[in-house]
Symmetry: C2
Subunit: 243 residues, 2 copies
């Protein structure tokens, strides 16, 4: 009965835009400052530690004052996710789409690692703002340079984003010690694995136990490049399309 979907947060700008000139000399609270504080808090304590009350306390202000600059907590989360997306450095195009795609992927990874608490938000939230599309723009530019026609480029874009976000969220939300599976346990549980019908997992246990995230990420990017190469190669035939 209780609809709980995130609000569209679409084209309409925030209902509570701050005044233009400085607000008469008050506390100087601002949507921007609220997000700044929220970002710092999440970076230090994690998403779960973000509460409107705690955020207000950190800012030395009453909890309810925040609602003058931000619709609600969900809007704060959306804002953080959009900031992350917007802060991804767009690498200059070199003309070598392989290199450019790799560079973009690395940029993405860098900001995700810098803000591990925010990264998962990017995946779940629907972000319609112009800011949030910076990555898409960069990726589409690269694909255009590679000769991928616009319609197909959109599909490729979605494929790339799915991998990037999937890989990065997995990475940032696995603790620094862990490696995606129970590192210590996997080896000893070898017999348990085999009796559970997990033959192949048992056989690969040694490799599953270790995980170099950077290398793994690069491997994935290589796979994407390979897929794209195959796609471009196969369309060599009907490529002559100049009207």
């Amino acid at each position: 009965m209780k609809r709980h979907r995130a609000p569209p947060s679409g084209a309409a700008p925030s209902r509570t835009a701050p005044r233009r000139g400085r607000p008469k000399g008050g506390t100087g609270l601002t949507r921007e400052k609220v997000l700044d504080a929220a970002l710092a808090l999440v970076d230090q304590e994690g998403v779960d530690a973000l509460s409107m009350r705690g955020l207000a306390a950190v800012m030395g202000v009453d909890a309810m004052s925040l609602y003058n600059h931000v619709d609600n907590k969900d809007a704060v989360l959306d804002g953080l996710a959009e900031r992350l997306l917007a802060s991804i450095e767009r690498p200059v195009l070199t003309g070598d789409w392989r290199r450019d795609l790799r560079a973009l992927a690395l940029s993405f990874r860098q900001v995700a690692l810098r803000h591990p608490g925010i990264a998962p938000l990017v995946l779940t939230r629907q972000l319609g703002s112009l800011q949030a599309m910076a990555v898409s723009e960069a990726a589409l530019a690269t694909l255009d340079a590679a000769g991928v026609p616009p319609k197909e480029a959109v599909h490729v874009l979605r494929f790339i984003l799915a991998f990037l976000i999937g890989a990065l969220v997995r990475e940032v939300s696995s603790g620094p010690t862990f490696s995606g599976l129970d590192l210590d346990g996997l080896a000893e549980r070898h017999t348990a694995l085999k009796t559970s019908g997990l033959r192949h997992v048992a056989r690969a246990a040694r490799h599953l136990a270790a995980c170099d995230h950077a290398a793994e990420f690069e491997f994935g990017v290589d796979m994407m490049v390979a897929a794209l190469e195959a796609r471009l190669g196969s369309s060599r035939g009907p490529k002559r399309r100049a009207k």
Copy 2:
């Protein structure tokens, strides 16, 4: 100061294993039943609606009784994620790895769509249980059949999982109406896009506005298959390895 990482939840079995025989005739509460109810609740109302108190109320029991069968709320969430993973149907191998890989991906998608609220949990939570490795086993079996050596298979596995989870979480957490971007707004904002330096986004707006999730997913799977084909093809040379 406040560590809030999810607990390891590793090799050690739940601290609160239920009695073996029926519990003397009490309410018959069980970890399994708790998870059943939690699953139903999340499927109907969404993750945000899951609370220990509400869950207990639905089960007609005191809130604290749950803690006799479940460590805490996080453990419930972990349990749900593991159930999702475990419930993925493992397709029988046909010998055609392309077909088998596609079938596995589709199985994954089907359970994700059946439990949209749970899918995102799979990504963020560290799942070390044997149950959760069913998908990995299936994927590794397929890759083995395709002739991918164990060590490389693990990398490929991680690539596949990153894409699958990234794509599916994106799909389930975009509302049924929305399509990943602001469907209605994108067309009108064409000029805004161009002035924002989002040339390529503007050009692709028409294609970005529409999103057939099923087709998009299939496209991604095709890309994975293509990447794998390229990889297998290039190792044709040193393939003769029979001792």
